[in-house]
């Protein structure tokens, strides 16, 4: 398990922010889900997921807790919900989407690793999608 494309993008005294690129301008051509590498989150006390897309189809973004072969679920206050059935959906405007603001259950919890999956219901014919994680080191 390794950190994927991690680099320090800014720092303050006693604090820095590390950028991890989960999907680096991924030009999706099908309607399958595409999984990032396993991203090690243990070096970070906080993290934020940001996404933006120029794809000409909406793209679904969801998380997996270290294994794409079984469901990852969260508690919505009433029942368990699979991340697959409740993805963040971002459009191809190029706008920056703070994905963890929708997946608020990912805030303020400790995770050892995560996989970010992206996919479109209809195969896009142009554009790409980028997903980044900004981590605040421990």
């Amino acid at each position: 398990m390794g950190v994927v494309n991690a680099k320090i993008i800014g720092s303050l005294p006693n604090r820095s922010v590390v950028e991890i690129i989960a999907h680096n301008a991924l030009a999706i051509t099908d309607s399958d889900y595409h999984a990032s590498q396993l991203i090690n989150l243990t070096p970070y006390k906080k993290f934020t997921i940001i996404g933006y897309s120029s794809l000409n189809q909406p793209v679904k973004v969801l998380f997996s807790l270290g294994n794409t072969f079984v469901n990852s679920k969260f508690w919505n206050g009433t029942s368990w919900v699979s991340s697959v059935s409740s993805p963040a959906i971002i459009d191809g405007t190029g706008d920056r989407f703070l994905i963890t603001s929708q997946m608020s259950y990912l805030n303020n919890i400790g995770l050892n690793n995560i996989i970010i999956q992206v996919g479109c219901s209809t195969a896009p014919t142009s554009g790409s999608v980028t997903i980044k994680i900004l981590g605040v080191p421990n």
Binding site: A25, L26, T29, H34
Partner: protein, 63 residues
């Protein structure tokens, strides 16, 4: 995708720019992953080249 086509696509893409409106024009370079990938894809589409899902990381060895 064929390597020769990919090299041509990258060469063309690096001469392009992207107009985001309101005067925001981004010149495509090796350091603009989204714009580079989008333009490479545009080249493939324009030239009817077959290709599978790819990312900036797939282009890096050719930059």
């Amino acid at each position: 995708m064929r390597q020769n086509t990919l090299l041509l696509a990258i060469e063309w893409a690096l001469t392009q720019s992207v107009d985001y409106g309101d005067g925001a024009i981004v010149q495509v370079t090796k350091n603009t992953p989204c714009e580079l990938v989008d333009k490479v894809r545009e080249y493939f589409n324009t030239n009817s080249s077959e290709y599978d899902t790819f990312s900036y990381d797939d282009l890096l060895p050719y930059l």
